[in-house]
């Protein structure tokens, strides 16, 4: 399968701060790729290097088989910036017309694409209004429309649903899944891990400018399991005993959640509860969510 994005040791240094360090990524065409990390980890810096806003300090990358900065590649790329700020004196339709000109879309393409994308993001009724009158959510929808204008093969979305309500988020998810069905590649920066988990084929975690894990959600979840137990009167002694055989990731008055490496550890957990004098009412193994993997990864090394 061809690679839509390939980066080799991509690094960005600001003074004495390294925002991204030797980032190596391979994103195959037709995938939805989730890029995750805490605030300030370097997510947006990487996207900005890939779309040409920032100059890498070292390393190289290619998009759709062409080097960074290639105008040919940019014709096939859509980008929704995190700030989604647009020229407020224009109407939504004028703004889309302006961006169509930047893409050099011909008259027929414009007449076809502008109504199509405004309809897709649910802005048809507001397309004639000035951008300055738009709400935050409408601006984000407009940004989405701009990014989809050229029917791009590769779409970079930086926090595309941050200003949307749950219904709007679902609509964006559906749009992204529809694009994936048409073979488009989507690079998604998001804090909303549940969303990423729902739609992404591959994910990568970045921390302090370094990629600390990458793979499919299934691969990252493999070998990591959470067991939730219902126990009468969870005490400090029980938690201490469980901590010796697993990692306690949460507890309530009568529930304990622990992370285990494999299902072989489940009988050991039951045995530990009983040996500690606890009365076990329920034991339910679950897969670790992407959010829990994310939190665990961030804690590691702290």
């Amino acid at each position: 399968m061809n690679l839509a994005i390939e980066s080799r040791d991509l690094t960005k240094v600001y003074g004495d701060k390294t925002a991204c360090r030797e980032i190596c990524l391979s994103v195959s065409e037709g995938q939805i790729f989730g890029f995750l990390g805490p605030n300030g980890a370097g997510k947006s810096t990487l996207v900005k290097m890939l779309v040409g806003l920032l100059r890498p300090t070292s390393g190289s990358a290619s998009l759709l088989g062409r080097p960074l900065g290639s105008l040919e590649a940019r014709k096939k790329i859509g980008y929704l910036p995190e700030g989604f700020s647009y020229h407020e004196w224009m109407t939504g339709r004028q703004l889309l017309g302006f961006h169509s000109s930047l893409y050099r879309l011909d008259g027929d393409s414009r007449r076809r694409r502008i109504p199509l994308v405004t309809d897709l993001v649910g802005l048809t009724g507001a397309a004639g209004k000035k951008v300055r009158t738009y709400s935050k959510g409408m601006r984000q929808r407009l940004g989405m429309a701009v990014s989809l204008l050229s029917d791009p093969d590769l779409l970079f979305l930086d926090e595309p649903t941050s200003a949307l309500d749950p219904l709007g988020r679902r609509e964006v998810r559906e749009i992204l899944l529809g694009l994936k069905e048409r073979g488009k590649t989507i690079f998604l920066n998001s804090h909303l891990l549940s969303e990423v988990e729902m739609i992404c084929d591959q994910v990568a975690f970045i921390k302090e400018g370094r990629i600390i894990a990458q793979g499919s959600p299934g691969q990252l979840q493999a070998g990591q399991m959470v067991v939730e137990m219902q126990v009468e009167e969870v005490g400090a002694g029980l938690l201490e005993s469980l901590g010796r055989v697993s990692e306690v990731i949460g507890s309530g008055r009568d529930t304990v959640r622990v992370a285990v490496k494999s299902s072989d550890q489940i009988p050991v957990l039951a045995e530990t509860v009983i040996k500690s004098g606890g009365r076990l009412h329920r034991l339910a193994p679950e897969k670790l969510s992407l959010e829990e993997i994310f939190v665990n990864l961030l804690r590691e090394g702290d």
């Binding site: 040409g52 806003l53 940019r74 929704l80 647009y86 961006h99 050099r104």
Partner: protein, 278 residues
């Protein structure tokens, strides 16, 4: 590049700063018209041609000097954020990630703004010229040659604004260009005084200020084009005031001005092509 040029022209016409500048220009032209009208009426009735020969050109110079000031004000206010404004608002991010070269973007912004400012300056010059000509009957044969020189003043300011807006914030860039403009104006006055009292230091200070920003030199050139002292002996007398020009800026200074604009634009293109936009 043309897309960005047309976009910039549309943007210029849609901003509130245009309305403010039009109001300023209307107030200024209204006052100027009142001044010229009453001066022409009284001097015309006094049967004193010497008085007319001194006062009418002074009125014209006053109009051109402060007309230039209004154009400069518009140029600084509307161009200080030509690129930095879009960077600060974030609007540039969705634009320069399109298949557009950064140099095309910056050059398109410059050309669009240059067309807008050039038209504004030309219109203002034409109205000042028409008011003066109509009420005083003053012979101004160099009008067509003076117009492009007048319109070049805001382009000098624009070129520096473009460079500043690729290097620093809108506020810092605007303040810097305004200070450079002030240096040029003060330098122009100092040079004029230097010629009156024949002081080499003052003359050189004026020349240096014109090298820093050659807007005052353009104004003084225009004074010579419109009121050529060689044409009429009385015109030499007219050049004595603060708005006159006792020494005509040379053709080298005009060439330097064009080189100055080109260099500032090229430096802006280079700086912008290497700029990180975060």
């Amino acid at each position: 590049m043309l897309t960005i040029t047309f976009f910039t022209i549309r943007e210029a016409f849609s901003r509130k700063i245009l309305l403010v500048s039009l109001i300023m220009a209307a107030v200024f032209l209204g006052l100027y018209w009142i001044g010229v009208y009453y001066a022409a009426r009284d001097i015309g009735g006094s049967q004193n041609p010497a008085l007319a020969a001194v006062i009418y050109p002074q009125l014209l110079l006053l109009g051109l000097y402060f007309g230039g000031f209004i154009v400069a004000f518009l140029a600084i206010i509307s161009s200080a954020g030509l690129i930095s404004g879009d960077i600060e608002s974030g609007a540039i991010q969705a634009v320069i990630t399109k298949p557009v070269r950064r140099s095309s973007y910056a050059l398109g912004r410059f050309l669009g703004q240059a067309i807008f400012l050039g038209l504004y300056a030309a219109a203002l010059f034409a109205v000042i010229y028409a008011i003066t000509r109509y009420h005083t009957g003053l012979e101004l044969p160099g009008g067509l040659r003076a117009l492009p020189v007048f319109a070049l003043q805001p382009l000098v300011i624009l070129a520096v604004c473009l460079l500043a807006s690729t290097l620093t914030s809108t506020l810092a860039g605007g303040a810097l260009v305004f200070m450079l403009y002030a240096v040029a104006l003060v330098g122009g006055f100092i040079e004029q005084i230097g010629w009156i009292i024949n002081n080499l230091y003052l003359k050189n200070a004026g020349i240096v200020s014109s090298l820093i920003m050659p807007v005052d030199a353009l104004y003084r050139k225009n004074v010579h084009i419109l009121l050529n002292p060689a044409a009429k002996p009385v015109n030499a007398l007219q050049q004595m005031g603060p708005f006159g020009s006792l020494a005509e800026p040379s053709q080298w200074m005009m060439l330097y001005t064009l080189f100055y604009v080109a260099l500032a634009v090229l430096a802006a293109l280079y700086a912008f092509s290497r700029k990180d936009i975060g």
